[in-house]
């Protein structure tokens, strides 16, 4: 039942994008009960998600960037 910290971290990341399955979530919860380091990490990870949501981040798509690069005359 006890999963490794690596596995826990991976599930924790998936959980940030709501992609962890039900059983994964349960095993992560269980792991966090036992493991202090993972408790801290998962707390910070959640906080990072909150910050990213709060910041209204926008990004240019790869396509846009490619076009931008093309239109810039590169001189070295």
């Amino acid at each position: 039942m006890m999963i490794s910290c690596e596995k826990a971290a991976c599930i924790c990341n998936k959980a940030q994008y709501k992609e962890a399955s039900f059983w994964e979530t349960i095993s992560l919860r269980f792991h966090i009960l036992m493991c202090k380091a993972c408790t801290k990490h998962s707390k910070q990870n959640k906080k990072l998600t909150t910050l990213c949501n709060k910041a209204n981040l926008v990004a240019l798509s790869e396509e846009d960037k490619r076009k931008m690069k093309e239109s810039l005359p590169t001189k070295n």
Partner: protein
Amino acid sequence: METHQLHPDTWVDLYADYLYNYAVARVNDAEIAKDLVQETFIAGLKSAKNFKGDAAERTWLIAILKRKVIDHYRKINSKKGKAEVRMNYSAQTDAEGDWLEERIADPNSNFENDALENEELGLAIQKCIAKLPKKQAQVFTMKTIEGMETEDICNALGINASNLWVMIHRARTGLMGCLNQNWF
């Protein structure tokens, strides 16, 4: 003091998203913001020889972008009369009279402060993303900011899902460390 140098070939990868966030916050329009970023890079290239090296590249580019934003507002306000301050008295009929006093900012409102803080936060996050290795930054941006599906990213980049999660993990850990001083 160290002198800075310009590396225009890295600009788009390093600063495009940062400048874009800055511009979007000011002009409220994705297309216009994109154009302004583009113009900034072009203007930067043109005046690269005037770069004295006493500011970091990003600071210098932001300074150019600021001018571009101002120019943009000048342009859209250039038709005579558009620059006048005009009050549209509100049509909300439940207001007693259309008094100016009713329309000033609410001093107790947190909204403006929050908006400012969120913008600062956004720029801080973009700065940290730019410090990540390129591949990690790319995966993180696609997943977190563009909200793409795991499968689509894997297909686009030719990696498998566990690769993706490893990169996400490294990126997130890196960002936590980078943002740690100010935001956690």
